[in-house]
């Protein structure tokens, strides 16, 4: 049943690919969030925050 | 004719460089924009010329709307770069700009004489010295008429004689009802000038 091997390979490739993509995105998220928290902890604020309390799109 | 800026703010790379700049210039008036390096003089000129979007505020030109409907179209912009092709001769360069911008000014040869370069029209632009290049770029202002001149350090690299010759050209332009906005570190050499000092930056 070599055909089963192809099915398994396809599922494996898809699973690995999606897992890799998800891991990359999650990791990226974590890195950015950490950096942001660290900067905020150092007391740096974005301009829009320092200008008014609310948020502006840019 | 009147060039007006209201509450202009400029951004570069997502960062606010200046804000709240307003001025009004009638025909025949000049504005000298001064300030330290990096203050945003070039940014301001480019915003007026429409080459950069203003973060806030706007620039308007009023007085002769059917002839000059937009600001950009009514401006000559002389930036840090000369906008000439090194491979073409001086005269070819000027002739091109004259044809492209509208043949409403001097002929290339006359314009060259006005900046004191009468004899070198046939040289490739690449062969000119730094000051001669700048003067060629100045000659470009003369080959086609525009009421507003935006000049970014026009006299950098010019010798004394050329600088005063250029002052005379600017005075003439003002006398004919033109408007000038010039960013500069050096005195412009005439009197009818308002000054806009831009902020202290490193």
């Amino acid at each position: 049943m070599t055909h089963t091997a192809y099915v398994i390979a396809a599922y494996l490739v898809a699973a690995l690919g999606i897992a890799g993509l998800a891991a990359w995105i999650l990791l990226d998220q974590r890195t950015q969030k950490r950096a942001l928290e660290e900067l905020e902890a150092r007391g740096i604020r974005r301009r829009s925050e320092s200008r008014r309390a609310g948020e502006s799109p840019r | 004719m009147r060039l007006a800026a209201e509450g202009l703010s400029g951004e570069r790379g997502g960062e606010r460089i200046f804000s709240g700049i307003s001025f009004e210039l009638e025909s025949g008036r000049a504005l000298a924009v001064t300030g330290p390096n990096g203050a945003g003089k070039t940014t301001l000129l480019r915003i007026i010329a429409g080459l950069l979007p203003a973060a806030e505020g706007r620039v308007t030109l009023s007085g002769d709307e059917e002839r000059w409907p937009g600001v950009a179209g009514a401006c000559h912009y002389l930036g840090h770069l000369n906008a000439m092709k090194a491979a073409l001769t001086v005269e070819e360069n000027l002739a091109f700009w004259r044809a492209f911008l509208g043949a409403t000014g001097l002929f290339p040869q006359e314009a060259l004489e006005a900046v004191g370069l009468g004899g070198i029209g046939h040289l490739p632009f690449a062969y000119l010295s730094a000051g001669q290049r700048r003067r060629t770029a100045i000659a470009r202002l003369l080959v086609s008429h525009r009421p507003v001149w935006l000049l970014d350090e026009p006299t950098a690299g010019l010798d004394q004689a050329s600088a005063s010759r250029f002052s005379a050209l600017m005075r003439e332009h003002l006398a004919a009802g033109g408007i000038i906005v010039a960013a500069t570190h050096l005195p412009l050499g005439f009197e009818t000038v308002e000054e806009l000092r831009m902020g202290k930056r490193q």
Binding site: A10, Y11, D28, L39 | E15
Partner: protein, 259 residues
């Protein structure tokens, strides 16, 4: 207020990154959960479904291949919509959406290609043929990569937004043309060797699991996309704050005054 103006306003409100972040934060767990649930249900259904009389067990590849292929096209459509948002309404969020979607789309397209290839080996006897559909998917993949390369090459967010949006739109206009021309090309030279996948008219027993899977993959795509958008927003904030902190000591926005 006209309908359009109202719509625009609502969109603008949603375009506020902070509001988006809040919304994303509360929605993500549900979305991800639903995606996982649907996907597992779909796959169980898929393996419970009968084998195809012609293709045998390999038909199971369909349950991942087809949703991935659909999503690769769906993703590009969404990016084109975002591109319009950037160019017409100048939403900051539209650009974030485009930039975040590109790698996901590329990955899905690559997986569609890979699973298709793996399916092709037992079915057609070769990993790859220059068949019309396969070729246009391959070109789509190249365009994804081109967009990624462009967004990565420009570091200034504002500038790269416009560039990527223009490229995406030009590509979008071009994709039907490519599809059409590739069809023409392929039927012209080699009518015999073209693999028409009219296939078995899909039996409901195969169709239902497929639809469930497709929905699951779509939800998965959406949650990945929202996460990537969130990361991108944070990245931009970090970059802006770094720039500010580098200069904050010496720079005060200048106030102009005419003397």
């Amino acid at each position: 207020m006209t309908e359009i103006a109202k719509l625009t306003e609502r969109l603008t409100a949603l375009a506020n990154p902070t509001r988006f972040l809040a919304l994303a934060g509360s929605m993500l767990p549900w979305l991800t959960g639903a995606a996982v649930l649907l996907l597992s249900a779909g796959l169980i259904l898929a393996f419970a479904a009968p084998e195809d009389y012609q293709q045998g067990i390999t038909v199971r590849i369909m349950y991942i291949h087809v949703p991935l292929a659909w999503l690769s096209m769906f993703c590009y459509t969404m990016m084109a919509a975002s591109a319009l948002g950037t160019l017409v309404w100048r939403h900051p969020l539209a650009d974030v959406s485009l930039k975040a979607a590109a790698p996901i789309g590329a990955a899905f397209t690559a997986l569609a290609l890979a699973t298709g290839s793996i399916w092709g080996k037992p079915m057609w006897g070769t990993w790859w043929v220059w068949d019309a559909r396969l070729t246009s998917v391959f070109v789509l993949f190249l365009m994804y990569l081109g967009i990624i390369a462009l967004t990565r090459a420009l570091d200034d967010p504002g500038r790269s937004a416009r560039s990527a949006a223009i490229l995406t739109l030009v590509g979008f206009v071009n994709i039907p043309i490519i599809k059409f021309s590739v069809d023409w090309w392929n039927t012209l030279h080699q009518p015999a060797s073209v693999f028409r996948l009219d296939g078995p008219t899909i039996h409901p027993s195969l169709l239902w699991p497929l639809l469930v899977c497709a929905l699951g993959f779509t939800l998965l795509f959406l949650s990945l996309h929202i996460m990537a958008m969130r990361a991108e927003i944070w990245r931009r904030r970090v970059a802006a704050m770094r720039r500010m902190s580098a200069r904050v000591a010496e720079v005060r926005p200048a106030k102009g005054h005419v003397s």
